[in-house]
Structure formats: structure tokens, C-alpha cells
């Protein structure tokens, strides 16, 4: 699904160069649920931005779903982002003026679908996250957990192959976080590849694979221990 080979990212500010990623190589197979961990400044956000085509790498090769996207122009990158990638942000990033249905509608608008197609997709996505009854509500009228579920519905509405989540439970309490995590697991089980950046070792433990970043590279060190084989008590893990 995703193949990064020797990806580098250098930020230039005057004469100062900051190497955010140093020859990062990573393979993620279709259907995987990968947790990306690492200390602050290790390059997690930069990795996610490059994986989500929000930034272009300074060097290296990035193949997404069989297409080399390393040197794509803005229009093609935007189209690929719209069709193949869904984003979930820590701060939900819903558009405050738009109601829930219109928020979910945003990526579909750029897809060029007809009104009936979009309405069907919005209904399906909101039903999946259990918020069909709140279509006309504004984001400010929902709880944090509900807002994140709307963000997930928005990310899923366009049927992306890859879901990128940046600290998706970072702003939620433990109960809400557990619900969102269960939703992500459910989405992954349906075949969507998920890459989740997290600081939370408990969440990382629930992912199928952990990738630890250190100084802009994938580190061999794995700080996250795999979950106990027989344990399925999610409440205990979150707590």
C-alpha cells in the first residue's frame, strides 16, 4: 500500500537546515494497522505529512498504492489525497460554520460527485459512526468524542484506501478514546489501511505493528511491548 525508500526532509530557514527525516524507509501492506511512535521531534508529524501528500519529500522515493507520488504536481497530489487518503486529526479540525453533514461533504465536493451520490455517502458514513441523527448539528453542539467520530466519518466518506490518524484520541477522555479506537479497529477490519501517530503506548499496543521513529529514521528499538495474547479487556488497557 505504502512504500517509502530513503525519504529525507530538510527544512531550510535561512542558513539553518533542519533534517526532519533522514533516509526513512518503510513498507506498509494493504490492510495493516500501523502505529507510529517516537519522542517529540523524532519526525512523526513530518512522516505523516509526507505520507498524506501534504508535503513533498526532499529526497527519496514514495510509492502509494502502486503510483510513485514523490514528484507529483499539486493538482495530481490533491486528487490522490482526495481519492486515496483520509485524515483524522488530534484537534478534529471540523469546519465550525458547517453542519455535520456539510463537514462530511467537504472531501466529496472535490471529488466532483453528483448531489445524490454525495448524500448517499454522507448518510452511510454518519451511520457508521452512529451520528445520523445529528446531521444538522453544528460541531460546537457535539461532544469531543462525537466531533472526532464526525471527523472519522468525513475521512471515510470518500472510501479511502489509507487512513492517516494523528493522535486521534489525544483530546479525548478515556471512554471517548476507547470508543474511537474501537471504531478505528472496526474500520481496519473492513480492509482500510491505517497509520496512526500516537504518544499513547496503550493505543500503540493495540495496532497490528509498531514503528518507532528516532531522529527522523525508523528505529530498531521497540519500546512498545505487544499486548498479552489472551487479553481483550480494552477498558483495562486504556485505564
Amino acid at each position: 500500500m505504502l512504500s517509502m525508500d530513503s525519504i529525507t526532509k530538510v527544512y531550510q530557514a535561512g542558513v539553518i537546515e533542519t533534517h526532519a527525516l533522514r533516509s526513512l524507509s518503510l513498507e506498509v501492506a494493504a490492510g495493516e494497522f500501523v502505529a507510529v511512535t517516537g519522542p517529540s521531534g523524532s519526525g512523526k508529524t513530518t512522516f505523516l505529512n509526507i505520507a498524506g501528500l501534504l508535503e513533498a519529500p526532499s529526497g527519496g522515493r514514495y510509492v502509494l498504492d502502486g503510483t510513485d507520488v514523490s514528484t507529483m504536481k499539486d493538482k495530481a497530489r490533491s486528487q490522490t489525497r482526495n481519492e486515496k487518503i483520509g485524515f483524522i486529526f488530534q484537534g478534529f479540525n471540523l469546519i465550525p460554520d458547517l453542519n455535520i453533514a456539510d463537514n462530511v461533504d467537504v472531501p466529496l465536493r472535490y471529488r466532483g460527485w453528483s448531489g445524490s451520490q454525495r448524500r448517499q455517502k454522507i448518510d452511510e458514513a454518519l451511520e457508521l459512526v452512529g451520528l445520523s441523527a445529528r446531521k444538522q448539528h453544528l460541531p460546537s453542539q457535539l461532544s469531543g468524542g462525537q466531533q472526532q467520530r464526525v471527523a472519522i466519518a468525513r475521512a471515510l466518506a470518500g472510501d479511502p484506501k489509507l487512513l492517516l490518524a494523528d493522535e486521534p484520541t489525544g483530546n479525548l477522555d478515556s471512554l471517548m478514546a476507547r470508543q474511537v479506537m474501537e471504531l478505528l479497529e472496526q474500520i481496519n477490519e473492513s480492509g482500510t489501511t491505517i497509520i496512526m501517530v500516537t504518544h499513547d503506548p496503550e493505543l500503540a499496543r493495540r495496532a497490528g505493528r509498531n514503528v518507532h521513529l528516532l531522529d527522523g529514521q525508523v528505529s530498531d528499538f521497540q519500546p512498545i511491548e505487544p499486548p498479552p495474547a489472551e487479553s481483550d479487556d480494552h477498558v483495562a488497557i486504556v485505564a
Binding site: L54, K75, Q79, R81, N82, N93, D97, R109, Y110
Partner: protein, 438 residues
């Protein structure tokens, strides 16, 4: 996507009403001031007879003083009016398609209807050729005839408003109106007719109303009446009688001719020069031969109907618009950058730079339309103030459909110019940078 972006633009304007009002207000103010001055300038400089303004000419003969020209400018141009005797000589020509000597004067007017009080009306004494030459539209009757001109017949053509007042708007042809207590038979009623500028007699201003009634030029002459206009004399003369005045070197009548072809124009020029040469032999016209015919637009320019002050005012108004636009650029930039995080989200969800630019261009367009409407309102109020404060601008300071469309168009263009940089700027920022600021 346009309707979607229009909806987003409306939401955006509602989100920050103060900033939105400032942007719309800045454009409206610039447009209002510009359109007020432009409307005045437009009407002042417009062609009052577009279909034949190049075939109708004001005549100038240089009968002025040998010691100094009437005008210092334009090569010492001849006076704008003629002496009575010269005008009568020109009326003897059969070269023009139509021609008319004329003057302005007022009349006390009443009818046999005792319920109506006698009123003072403005009038024009002229020849029958005035009406076809200036394409004056008639609703009833027709101009008087050439023989009635010669006979100083007591006949009158009324304006529509005067006919409405005196005869209730009915066909009054054949009825009698009393002008200075003398009975005149109505031979025609003209429709509403208001060339602007009022080019044929600029003595009382270029932006005044057309006359209430028209009588043969020979009528006031027969009654030994002068003009209510401008009379200029250069030669010390003993003027003891009306006949002395008519034979004097004083200029006080206007003379217009319609010359449809180049041959007619050449022939008429030769005719004028020939007449002047004859007069030289009689001791008159001592200045170098300089007789002119001026088509309507040249005449308005020569008479400086649109002065340099007016042009400067338009330039200043547009400079003010530029200042308003610069302010709008700043406001738009602030507004758009304030929204950068949301644009970052849209970019992450698939919006291209072009999509972001289009979204903001639609908002800029909406701001332009609202600014244009606000500008129109301010223009209307500005022109209303001009009409109320300055005499003679009553027929000038009016918005017409062309100017309304111009205002909207100008506002949209202005808003687009103001929005170019903010729109370009917001569409260039990398989405990742936007998201980091969210």
C-alpha cells in the same frame, strides 16, 4: 462548485461581520465617490445628439475688435454669438439643410382659463428650422412655417410640460395662449426633450432645462425685444433706438446650421468667408479672416463645458478608490490568513490550490457585488446632495442604467484587483503549514 463557493462566501462574510462590513464599506465608499464624480463627468461630456452631432454646427464670425480678439485662447477665436445683422445675412443662405438664428427670453403666459394664474415661462425665439435641425419630437401639430417666420406670426410651440399645465395635456393645436398678454395660436406641442448638455445656448449654463415654449425669432424683433442672455459689445456706438441696436456690433444671438455633406460644409465656409470679405470692404471685420463652424462636440469642448477641474476631480476620485482598494487588500489578507487553518483542512481533504483560489475568488466577487450595491447607494446619495446643494445640476446629477452597470462592474473589477494578492497568497501556503496552525 460556484453555488457551493457562494454559500461558503456568505458564511465567511457572516462569520466576521465587522471585517466584512469594513471591506464592503471601503469598496462602497471608493465606488460611491468615483461614481458620483464620474456620473457628473459622463453627463457633462456626453454627446447630446449622437445621431447627428457631427452634422450640426455652431457658427462663429469674427466681427470682433481689430485691437484684441474675443478669446485669447484657440488662436484668438471669434465670439460665440453673432450680431443680429450678420445672423440675418447668414439666414439668407440656401446652403444648409436647416438653419436657425435664436435667442432666449421669457414670457408671461396665461390662457382663457381663469382658474390658471399667469406664469412666467422660459422661451426660445428661433426659426422653423430649429425643430428639424435638432430632431425635436412633436406629440401634437408641427413647427410653424417659413412664411410664418417671415410674417412674425403670433404662433407658439409648447413643451409637453407647458401643454400639460395650460391645456391639461390635450391636443391644444389651434388653441390660444397669451404671451405677454398677446394672443398666440398653438401650432405644435413637443414631447419631453432634454438634450444634455443643452448645447445650443450656453449663456445660461449647459445643464439647464429646455425652454417651456418656442416662438418665431421675428416676433420679439417685431416687438423690439432683446434677449435674456448675454450681450457683448466691443465698439463704442451711439445706440439710441432698437434699430441702432440691431445694426450694432454687439453679439447676442446664436446661429446654428445643419450641413450634411462635406460639399455643403465647404460651400458654407466659402459663403461665410465671402460675406466677411464683403464686410471688410465696408469697414467691418477688421480682424484676419477667421470664421468657424463647430460641430456639437467641438463646440462643447471649445466652450469648456467640461473644465479641467472636472477632469481633475475624476482623477482624484479614482485615486481615492485606489486608496480604498489598498485598505481592502489589507483587510482581505487579514481575513483570509485568519482562516488559513481551515484552508489547511480543505487542502488535506483534497482541495487543490486552484480550488482554494476559486473559493476565495467567489468570495471576492461577492464582496465586489455588495461593495457595488453599497457604492450605488452612496452615489445616489452623493448625487442627491449635488442636486440639492448646487443650482443648475438638477438634470445632471442623475444615475442612469449605464452608470448603474458601470458601478457594479467597476466594484467587481476593483474587488478582484484588491483580492488578487490575498487569493494568490492563501492558495500558495502549504497545507501542512495550515494544519500546524490549527
Amino acid at each position: 462548485m460556484f453555488s457551493y463557493y457562494a454559500k461558503l462566501a456568505l458564511l465567511s462574510l457572516k462569520r466576521n461581520p465587522l471585517l466584512s462590513s469594513l471591506m464592503v464599506g471601503a469598496i462602497a465608499l471608493g465606488i460611491g465617490v468615483s461614481m458620483t464624480t464620474l456620473t457628473l463627468y459622463y453627463v457633462m461630456s456626453s454627446d447630446p445628439m449622437p445621431l447627428k452631432s457631427d452634422r450640426v454646427f455652431a457658427v462663429q464670425l469674427d466681427s470682433w475688435s481689430p485691437d484684441e480678439p474675443y478669446y485669447e485662447r484657440d488662436g484668438g477665436a471669434p465670439p460665440p454669438q453673432l450680431t443680429y445683422r450678420d445672423a440675418m445675412a447668414l439666414m439668407g443662405s440656401d446652403i444648409p439643410t436647416h438653419h436657425a438664428t435664436m435667442m432666449h427670453r421669457g414670457f408671461a403666459v396665461r390662457t382663457d382659463n381663469k382658474d390658471l394664474r399667469q406664469e412666467y415661462k422660459s422661451g426660445r425665439a428661433t426659426y422653423a428650422g430649429f425643430f428639424p435641425m435638432f430632431d425635436v419630437p412633436f406629440i401634437y401639430g408641427a413647427p410653424w412655417t417659413q412664411s410664418q417666420d417671415e410674417a412674425a406670426a403670433r404662433v407658439v410651440v409648447l413643451s409637453r410640460a407647458t401643454n400639460d399645465k395650460l391645456f391639461g395635456g390635450r391636443d391644444s393645436v389651434g388653441e390660444v395662449a397669451y404671451l405677454d398678454n398677446e394672443p398666440f395660436r398653438v401650432v405644435g406641442v413637443i414631447d419631453t426633450w432634454q438634450p444634455m448638455p443643452l448645447f445650443y445656448d450656453l449663456n445660461n449654463g449647459a445643464f439647464t432645462e429646455t425652454e417651456d415654449l418656442f416662438v418665431p425669432f421675428t416676433v420679439p424683433i417685431s416687438k423690439e425685444q432683446g434677449a435674456h442672455g448675454s450681450t457683448n459689445c466691443w465698439k463704442p456706438e451711439m445706440i439710441e433706438s432698437y434699430q441702432d441696436f440691431l445694426q450694432s456690433e454687439c453679439v447676442w444671438v446664436q446661429h446654428w446650421v445643419q450641413l450634411d455633406t462635406a460639399e455643403q460644409r465647404d460651400a458654407y465656409q466659402s459663403f461665410m468667408d465671402g460675406y466677411a470679405t464683403e464686410q471688410k470692404a465696408l469697414g467691418r471685420f477688421q480682424r484676419p479672416l477667421d470664421n468657424r463652424i463647430n460641430d456639437i462636440m467641438s463646440w462643447l469642448e471649445f466652450r469648456e463645458v467640461v473644465g479641467d477641474d472636472n477632469r481633475l476631480l475624476v482623477v482624484l476620485a479614482f485615486m481615492f478608490l485606489v486608496i480604498c482598494l489598498l485598505n481592502t487588500v489589507g483587510l482581505m489578507l487579514a481575513k483570509f490568513l485568519n482562516r488559513a487553518p481551515l484552508i489547511g483542512v480543505r487542502r488535506a481533504l483534497g482541495a487543490s490550490k486552484k480550488d482554494v483560489a476559486f473559493q476565495h475568488a467567489v468570495e471576492v466577487f461577492l464582496i465586489g457585488v455588495l461593495g457595488g450595491l453599497g457604492g450605488l447607494l452612496l452615489s445616489y446619495l452623493g448625487l442627491l446632495a449635488v442636486r440639492n446643494w448646487y443650482r443648475g445640476y438638477e438634470y445632471l446629477a442623475k444615475l442612469n442604467p449605464e452608470m448603474v452597470l458601470t458601478a457594479i462592474f467597476l466594484a467587481i473589477v476593483a474587488a478582484i484587483i484588491a483580492g488578487l494578492y490575498p487569493t494568490w497568497h492563501i492558495s500558495r501556503i502549504q497545507p501542512a503549514v495550515h494544519l500546524k496552525t490549527q
